[in-house]
């Protein structure tokens, strides 16, 4: 399809309902809510792979302990990444709706397959987690874990395909109607970019490595986690993170080479900023590799989170470059402001997210560092009261507004 027709198609496909706030708000939220999602993807994939690898060496107490811990990390991580993925997807469907829907419809069977493979993959992993305790864990569960991880990789690949196909609207009609034959099966994967996919896999190695160093630091106050084990985890983490960061640099260069030259991604400052940042990351992990990283875990993890933030921006810059020839800019989206629902969101994220989320995270963090029963300190206690109050007030307020509007409109 030619550029003009593709541009016209994209604008026709945009939802005529418009969006209820400025597109920049959605774009920023889309980019930055993706960061925690991808971080948990990275940590979960890395932890699952490590959980399995360590399982094969479980005759060694350190590896056995690590296998159990990482199996649990992957179990919690996958459930969180699913939830965290909802927000960026919601905002993507708000401002990049043509790209997302068309790409999904073209590979619809894979979209549904994603749900079932994720479900059975997770149940397999959960079973592996339930059985992976002590040095007498049966060997066959290894294959259950391998199956679970394979499903996670497959699901990650499906997500990659859906995102990537959305970048090529000029090919959608050709993919849907090859040789004039209408393909409504949704069975085909039409496009993928292995080097881009590989970059995110390498990112999993880096982020997981940094996570492992931080894990070693987090448990240093727990008497039931020996210093030797924690030093073992930190050393392993710094070695892994270094390999991941180097691989990311190589794969990012490969990715940029694979992007069509017309998009001029090499001259974009964001590309260079990311490359330089990755270089700093390589240097940081190279230093960490050769020294004791005790006390450095949170810093290195924060550095990796910063990298994820830059990757998120780079990814959006790239999408904008892909869409530019078709005059598709999210900033042109029709806006019909809906202030009350936007205020509701702000109050919810600040009030409930801040107070209840803050309460639970602080509580889990503090209780996790105590071996016996944790007695809440004044801060946690106040946060607890705030959490209940904020949630109850939210429910009462929403209902009150609802009843008032309901009576006004239907009375």
């Amino acid at each position: 399809m030619d550029v003009a027709s593709t541009a016209a198609m994209l604008h026709t496909l945009q939802d005529p309902t418009g969006i209820p706030s400025h597109p920049l708000i959605f774009q920023v939220l889309m980019v930055f809510t993706w960061v925690p999602h991808i971080l948990f993807v990275n940590i979960s994939l890395g932890a699952a792979l490590m959980g399995l690898y360590a399982f094969t060496k479980r005759h060694d107490p350190h590896w056995q302990k690590l296998s159990e811990a990482m199996t649990k990390v992957a179990k919690v991580g996958v459930s969180l990444l699913v939830v965290l993925g909802v927000a960026p997807l919601l905002f993507t469907q708000t401002i990049y709706d043509p790209q997302w829907y068309a790409s999904n419809l073209l590979s619809a069977s894979w979209v549904i397959g994603f749900i079932f493979t994720l479900t059975i993959g997770y149940l397999a992993w959960f079973t592996f987690y339930l059985k992976n305790h002590g040095d007498h864990a049966p060997g066959w569960i290894f294959w259950l874990g391998v199956f679970g991880l394979a499903m996670f990789f497959l699901d990650g690949f499906i997500m990659h395909v859906l995102a990537y196909q959305g970048l090529h609207p000029e090919k959608w009609v050709e993919w849907y109607t090859p040789d004039g034959h209408v393909d409504m099966s949704g069975n085909s994967v039409h496009a993928y970019e292995l080097v881009r996919w590989g970059f995110f896999m390498a990112m999993s190695v880096t982020v997981f490595g940094a996570f492992l160093i931080a894990y070693g630091d987090y448990f240093k106050v727990r008497a039931d986690r020996g210093p030797a084990y924690l030093a073992f985890a930190r050393k392993l983490g710094s070695q892994i993170a270094f390999v991941g960061a180097v691989a990311q640099v190589v794969l990012l260069l490969g990715w940029m080479l694979d992007v069509p030259a017309a998009l001029k991604i090499w001259t974009h400052p964001m590309s260079w900023l990311l490359l330089i940042y990755l270089g700093v990351l390589v240097a940081a992990f190279a230093v960490a590799r050769g020294s004791d990283t005790q006390g450095q875990g949170y810093k290195l993890l924060t550095l990796s989170i910063g990298m994820a933030g830059l990757v998120a921006i780079f990814r959006e810059v790239l999408r904008m470059a892909y869409m530019a020839p078709f005059n598709y800019s999210v900033l042109d989206y029709k806006v019909l402001w809906d202030v009350p629902s936007f205020v509701l969101f702000l109050l919810t994220i600040v009030g409930v997210g801040g107070l209840m989320g803050g309460f639970i995270i602080t509580l889990v963090y503090k209780a996790g560092r105590v071996s016996g029963v944790y007695q809440a300190d004044a801060t946690v206690s106040r946060l607890g009261v705030g959490s209940v109050a904020a949630t109850a007030l939210w429910v009462a307020g929403f209902m009150a507004v609802g009843i008032w509007i309901w009576l006004s409109n239907n009375g």
Binding site: P16, I115, I360
Partner: protein, 468 residues
Amino acid sequence: MLEMLGLYPQWYVPGIGTAWVMGIIGTIHVLASHTSVGAAWLFALLAQKSVSENKPEIMLYLKKYGMFLLVFSYIIGSITGPGIWYSVTVASPRGISGLIHNFVWLWASEWVFFFVEVIGVYAMVYLIGKIDNKTYLKLAWSFALASWATMILIVPILSFMMWPGNDQWYSTGSTFDAAFNLNYFAHLGIRTAFMFAVAGAVGGIIAATLKDRETRIEITRFLSKMGLAGMFLMLVMFMWYTATLPENARLIMETQMMPKYGSTLGALLLATLVYFIFTAWKPMYLRQGVAVVMTLAIGLFGLWPEERSRESMRKPYVAGQYIYSNQFFSRDVPGKGVVSDMPLIEAKGVLATNYFVPEELRKITPENQLRAGEVLTKIMCANCHSVESDGALRPLPPLFGHSDEPKMIQAYLDGALYHGKIPYMPRMPLPEDERAAMALYIASLSGYTPPAVAVSQATHSSSAKGVN
């Protein structure tokens, strides 16, 4: 008038159709998610009882129940939740898009609750006995309220799918006018009641395994009372719910849903009441297998008909009585600047105005008539009908009496459908040549061979291209 239609590619699932794909995932999700919300309240109520009556054994039950809650409701619920979203994305892209663009901030608010709920569920289970009781209760009540809030926030969208219930939203386009539609509170009431009932049944699966007799009796009775209260509330709310439905939905419910599912739902209702009364009376007789069967029965004989009925009763719409189930906009919505697709279809048809139609099918000829008919039929009808005779989703050939006479079929398309006279069917004001092509294709499903195809087959092996 529009120039082109904003239609996406079509996904066709032979036999069961996309509606069943959504229904299957939806049923699993509703069972899991309502269980999870109900269990959150059960957790809070029992934790409160444990602390105020100083009964630590109840906390042990919660610890056991919590792990089950994680495996059963939370994991399945949290994956099938986006699963519904994904299935609707590929089954009804303009429908879900319309909902997202209307309700994005409500959905984003729900995500906040969803997130705190998910980290909360881990905290609830793993911190039992590891933090002081007072803090645990704060956690439990925050969690219960947050879980219910996810329901409070999703029901506006589900009930708007049925209809706004008044004209306000069409002119204002306001999210709150859409959210607090006529159907909202009754719908929320039913789901809230159901969450208590299903949590009562699911809770029994673990309660039946408790070793301590006193605790087992106490908890089983608690569950039975909660289940009975839920059932009673559900009946009251159902009566209110039916009073808030649009005319087309009531018609479908009375003429199609009740004859099809009425006796099953009645029997299930009776069985559930008997189950809760019996387990309240003789708690020690409750066996785990019975509780499992009861839970599955609620899912299979209660939720599946409910999900299918709700989907059917919305017909011919999929959202807000402005998006038809076949993805066309049926009317203008001035408050949102939405323009009806009907005038464009009437003037130019669907083939010439849909980007996802091959160039050679844009103009109908005797040679491509059958293929054009197939594409059109699937675009116009496949959201609600299988084209296979033995398809599970209201198959077209039997609905036309297996007719192989194109003219007879076209008479129906020319009359009732063209003018939108069937209350549960979308209006289809297609041009004459497109109606003829559809009629030809539908007749071919029952054995009719169009002349152009017959000639082609007789002279040489045809390379006619079809649709997968």
